[in-house]
């Protein structure tokens, strides 16, 4: 025996007799550090453990248990065995000793050296000698944790205990009420159920002891430190109850009973539990409860009180049906699926055909819920419902009834889509598609527009299921769609028709190539004479909508290009607006087609060269004659062409590189060889400062080179950059120099780190010298280049960016450029449509706006304070431009710091500043920070002053803010009630309806504030 150290003895003495709890920690550390062993500790404890005083014995055991809690890992198997024997024996001792014993046992269950058989003996003695529910909360948790530990490590031994283990557990958890312990208990019960412990005759007991908590009703106390939520408990209990089919006979009646409850959450929980449970069940488990379940579910849908419950009930119906469809039938069992469906049909079908159509929707939803569960269910339901539905449709005369029936039919189509089975697919088709098609076609030929819209969307759903429509049906459908496109005037109808055509064309391109496109082409050409604007517009958008497959694009793109061509040839036959729309259609095609060899070739070999060729022809030709001006030189048309080219270059990558090098050589060297209709002079100089008609084509260059993927290398990039810089600094035509600046920025943004410094330095030098000469005529140009380069660098966190920001801030004080500089901050912070966005593969880091804001807001505030009075407006405008573009979350967290500045901005006379400040403030008002409430007086008086503003938008925005104020804590805003109501009276008589509408809404809310029955 080792000599007992005096230190150990004193520690034991102080803990046991001196009642100093900290000594347990010291002892545990001593054991851990190897100063003394557990054996020595037990020897030292000898006296206290054998004392005649139960409290002394309890103290002794407590010391041992606490030491073990920290040192269970180091114990040998022999030691564990001895300690176990000791503890098991101590369970029979005085009750005050039980808690520390349990803690010791818990520590031992964590030991990996637990000898075989010990788990069983430990549990037997715990179940035998301890009445768990008479213990305190912490000790009960101890027992549960022991069980959990043992279930993890000694599963086989516990299963050997058989049903006794379940019985022991049931006894120990029976009556548990603390949510923390319940979570543990549910975990154990879940393990029992899911890991296949034998429950024997105690199945019902286990169910009873857990299901008595169902449905869970628990609201955690405020500032609950344990953070247990109702949802956690619900999930844990649901896992137990739904874990095994053995519970079916008990669970299903319970659910039926709970569905009768008036408590919404109980209903919801029951429905969700039902849906989760049937996943495991077979039809045998369900058979006897089917009728009861169905009647409860039906009631929930028919007399629904909330959408959530209705949705849960429908999910449960689907789950139930799919469970029944899944089970294998024996020769002697009845087909429970069909008997269930008979029930469903009996209760729902007739509602579809009642004259008043009152319960149509609930019944249809129920039918569709079971429909979507399985192929078999869908088959029996659709065959029973759809034919009479069609008949019913034909017998009705009122359009609204017909529309309802069509909508019901559409839902059936959609719900059967989810259970499409490969081998049976065709069979169902024959059943329904024929009759549905005739239904749709007859509806399309009606004159009622809402009926036509519904029919078009039904046709869309039919088309989305492959194999459902026959070729003859499709041809007929295309005929109907074409007719509607050409003749119907209603905008909503044509929108629906265009959408439907798109869906059909995706599945069945052939019919569209042979029929629709030629007809539309003819129509566009012929209506050019009659100048029928609306028809032509519809044709253009339909052409874009159907072009999803490559084969269709090959046909439709040339039609659109021909339109541009004839517009160029004869400016009188198409308006500028129509030409722009044609470009928009081309753009939409480029956005929607799949990137593939065919489509890419079509765009890069046909569309882009022809666009460039037409634009160039127009530019060169108009040089001469001024009266005969082609629409293709208009800025509107060119800006519509930009996205076509840029989308083609960014999305259709296969031939993009080739196009890029051709375009560069066209602009740098005047190489026109790749353009069709080649009748150009040999050396066109597009980037030199010649006519504005030619220089403005630089926007097409920008569209092409700025949207390439970053991996594509440009030829002659250096030369291109310097020519662009020259053009942007010296040209006087706004579109030309802006586009050149954008193009320069777009290229700089994509250059690899370190490769762009030289150009940027050059630009900064040139721009600064230009800006420093107040008399220079080219200051605007220099400023434009500065702002675009700044944006390009900001997006990629370029180190040189700060140099440009400083320049920009200094310009806020500039007499001429100050207002422009303030406006430019909005350009800096917002996404630009044609360059420097993600679609163009720009180098764009996340959260660049926040970064810009956090780095520069202080400078701005400083500048504001230092600026002379007449320049302050520029700073306020810049600030509101920046803040306006920040994400809402950042706004809300950052605004309190800037609040005084924003309140100042409200009094600023500039309307733009007022408007953007109001739009910044409004989201913050919805969730007001404390600072704002302190400044309420200032805020209210400024807002009320703005209600009388001459600008409509400001009146609307300020009234919206006043409306938001009504949601502030009532005691804060109540003092302002009468003042606000008085101020809101004049806008009720405003000359603009939009203002009146806001005023009515705001005034109604303020009337309700502090009034009985209101808020």
């Amino acid at each position: 025996m080792a000599a007992e150290s005096p230190l150990l003895l004193s520690l034991v003495e102080e803990f046991v007799s001196g009642l100093q709890d900290t000594k347990a920690k010291d002892t545990a550390t001593g054991v851990k550090d190897g100063q003394f062993t557990v054996l020595q500790l037990v020897e030292a404890l000898g006296q206290s453990l054998t004392s005649s005083q139960p409290h002394t014995r309890a103290r002794g055991v407590q010391l041992l248990s606490e030491v073990l809690q920290d040192n269970y890992g180091a114990l040998t198997e022999r030691e564990v065995e001895l300690l176990l024997a000791f503890y098991e024996n101590r369970l029979k001792d005085h009750y005050v000793i039980t808690p520390p014993v349990l803690r010791g046992l818990l520590a031992l269950t964590k030991s990996r050296k637990l000898p075989p058989g010990s788990a069983v003996s430990m549990l037997r003695s715990v179940f035998q000698d301890v009445h768990v529910q008479s213990l305190m909360l912490a000790e009960r948790a101890c027992v549960y944790n022991m069980l959990i530990n043992l279930m993890e490590s000694r599963e086989d031994e516990l299963k050997g205990l058989g049903a006794d283990f379940v019985f022991g557990f049931v006894q120990s958890m029976d009556g548990e009420r603390d949510p923390r312990n319940l979570l543990l208990a549910f975990q154990i019960a879940g393990n029992i159920v899911l890991r296949g412990y034998s429950m024997g005759k105690f199945t019902e007991e286990l169910f009873e002891v857990t299901s008595c908590y169902f449905p869970i009703d628990f609201s955690p106390p405020p500032n609950d430190p344990h953070g247990i939520t109702k949802e956690e408990l619900i999930q844990a209990l649901r896992a137990v109850l739904t874990g095994t089919p053995k519970f079916a006979e008990f669970l299903l009646p319970l659910i039926i009973e709970k569905l009768d409850s008036d408590v919404q959450s109980a209903k919801l929980d029951s429905l969700q539990t039902l849906a989760a449970s049937v996943g495991q069940y077979e039809h045998r488990d369900l058979a006897e409860f089917l009728e009861g379940l169905w009647s409860s579910l039906r009631r929930e849908v028919f007399q629904t009180s909330s959408e959530k419950i209705e949705a849960a009930a429908l999910t449960a119906v689907t789950a139930l049906t799919s469970c029944l469809s899944r089970s294998v039938l024996n020769s002697d069992s009845e087909d429970s699926l069909s008997s269930f469906l008979v029930l469903v049909l009996r209760d729902c079908k007739h509602h579809l055909f009642e004259p008043d159509l009152k319960l149509v929707w609930p019944s249809a939803k129920l039918l569709q819920a079971s429909c979507s569960a399985s192929y078999r269910a869908a088959h029996s339901i659709t065959s029973a419902v759809v034919p009479p539905l069609v008949e019913q449709y034909n017998s009705r005369t009122q359009c609204s009834d017909r529309r309802t029936l069509l909508e019901v039919a559409q839902r059936f189509i959609q719900s059967t889509a989810s259970c499409q089975s490969v081998d049976h697919g065709e069979e169902r088709v024959c059943l329904t598609a024929d009759s549905l098609c005739s239904l749709v076609f007859s509806a399309l030929s009606e004159s009622n527009s809402s009926l036509q819209i519904t029919a078009a969307s039904v046709l869309t759903s039919l088309a989305q299921q492959p194999g459902l429509l026959l070729d003859s049906d499709i041809e007929l459908a295309v005929d109907h769609l074409t007719r509607l496109l050409l003749t119907d005037e209603d905008e909503r109808v044509s929108a629906a028709v265009v959408e439907c055509a798109g869906a059909l064309a995706e599945q069945h391109p052939a019919a569209f190539i042979t029929k629709l496109i030629p007809t539309l082409k003819k129509e566009i050409e012929s209506s050019a004479l009659r100048s029928h604007h609306a028809v032509r517009q519809r044709c253009l958008s339909a052409l874009a909508a159907v072009s999803i497959r490559a084969s269709v694009v090959m046909e439709s793109a040339p039609v659109l290009l021909d339109v541009l061509c004839s517009a160029h040839a004869d400016p009188n036959c198409f308006s500028v607006d129509e030409v722009a729309r044609t470009c928009l259609s081309l753009q939409r095609i480029a956005e929607r087609v799949q990137d593939g060899e065919d489509t890419s070739r079509c765009f890069h070999d046909v569309v882009v060269p022809r666009l460039l060729s037409l634009a160039l022809q127009a530019a060169l030709q108009s040089d001469g004659s001024s009266d005969h001006r082609s629409p293709l030189v208009e800025e509107e048309v060119l800006s519509a062409m930009v996205p076509v080219i840029s989308t083609a270059c960014s999305r259709l990558k296969t031939f993009a590189e080739q196009t890029a090098s051709r375009v560069v050589s066209l602009f740098l060297d005047g190489d026109v060889s790749f353009l069709p209709d080649n009748s150009f002079p040999l050396h066109v100089q597009l980037l030199q400062d010649s006519s504005w008609r030619q220089t403005q084509l630089v926007c097409l260059l920008m569209a092409c080179v700025c949207s390439l993927p970053r991996s594509v290398a440009l030829p002659q990039e250096e030369r291109l950059l310097s020519e662009l810089e020259e053009l942007s600094c010296s040209c006087r035509h706004p579109l030309s120099y802006t586009s050149a600046a954008k193009c320069f920025a777009g290229l700089v943004n994509k250059k690899p780190q370190g490769a762009s410094e030289r150009q940027v330095f050059g630009v900064i030098k040139r721009v600064s010298s230009e800006l420093d000469r107040p008399s220079s005529p080219l200051r605007t140009q220099a400023f434009t280049l500065l702002i675009w380069v700044a944006k390009a660098l900001l997006l990629r966190y370029h180190p040189l960016f700060s140099a440009l920001t400083d320049k920009l801030f200094s310009l806020l004080d500039d007499a001429l450029l100050g207002p422009m500089a303030a406006d430019s901050f909005s350009l800096l912070m917002s996404d630009s449509a044609d360059v420097l966005n993600r679609g163009c593969h720009a180098d764009l880091r996340i959260m660049y706006r926040q970064r810009f804001f956090s780095e520069n807001s202080a400078k701005l505030v400083q500048g504001f304070n230092a600026a002379p009075q007449e320049k302050k407006a520029n700073y306020l405008k810049a600030l509101s431009n920046i803040v306006n573009k920040l994400p809402k979350q950042v706004q809300v967290s950052e605004l309190p710091a800037l609040l005084s500045l924003l309140l100042e901005a409200l009094t600023c006379t500039d309307e733009g500043v007022q408007l953007s400040t109001l739009s910044c403030l409004q989201p913050v008002l919805i969730n007001p920070p404390q600072v704002l409430i302190q400044q309420l007086e200032a805020l209210v008086s400024r807002l009320l002053a703005l209600i009388g503003s001459p600008a409509m938008k400001i009146r609307v925005a300020s009234i919206r803010c006043v409306l938001a104020l009504s949601c502030f804590p009532a005691h804060e805003v109540l003092p302002f009630r009468s003042r606000v109501l008085r101020a809101l009276a004049p806008p009720l008589d405003d000359r603009k309806r939009l203002v009146r509408r806001e005023a009515v809404q705001a005034r109604a809310e303020w009337f309700l504030l502090g009034s009985p029955g209101g808020r």
């Binding site: 409509m952 009276a985 603009k992 009515v1000 005034r1003 009337f1007 009985p1012 209101g1014 808020r1015």
Partner: protein
């Protein structure tokens, strides 16, 4: 609410809600004066029925008979109770009246009455036309509470 558990009309016919007015270009144009018209008064459609969780529009209580004259500053609204013996008729009328009082400039003279021949008693018309009685009703805090609930 006086309706209590037993609803007078437990299963009313429900009508579709109409969509919001489409925004037109002239409404956005600062220089055009938009007169107050019938459709604008139709904001009373969103008033809740005292009995049902439905709006007056869905119950078709306020039909299309609304006459607004912006230049003469008069408004006249007729409403149709869902059933001829509806005890809520006065309350509905009061709610409409209050909503209009709060939403229209005070130059307007507001007249709210039951569509002739749709209600057993037309006593409510007298009450609604009497300014004093309307003002007195709104002094009554429990009545005001019910009206506010209809309006919120």
């Amino acid at each position: 609410m006086s309706g209590g558990v037993q609803l007078e009309n437990a299963n009313p016919v429900i009508f579709q809600r109409s969509v919001d007015r489409m925004l037109t270009a002239s409404e956005e144009d600062e220089d055009v004066h938009d007169p107050i018209d019938d459709r604008e008064i139709f904001l009373i459609r969103s008033i809740n029925d005292p009995e049902h969780p439905l709006s007056l529009e869905e119950l078709n209580v306020v039909e299309q008979v609304r006459q607004v004259n912006d230049t003469e500053s008069t408004v006249s609204v007729e409403f149709t109770p869902t059933i001829p013996h509806c005890s809520m008729a006065t309350l509905i009328g009061l709610s409409i009246k209050v909503k209009l009082l709060r939403s229209l400039p005070d130059r307007f003279k507001i007249d709210v009455h039951i569509t002739p021949g749709t209600h057993a008693s037309e006593e409510a018309n007298k009450q609604l036309a009497d300014k004093e009685r309307v003002a007195a009703a709104l002094e009554n805090s429990s009545l005001l509470e019910v009206v506010n609930q209809c309006l919120s």
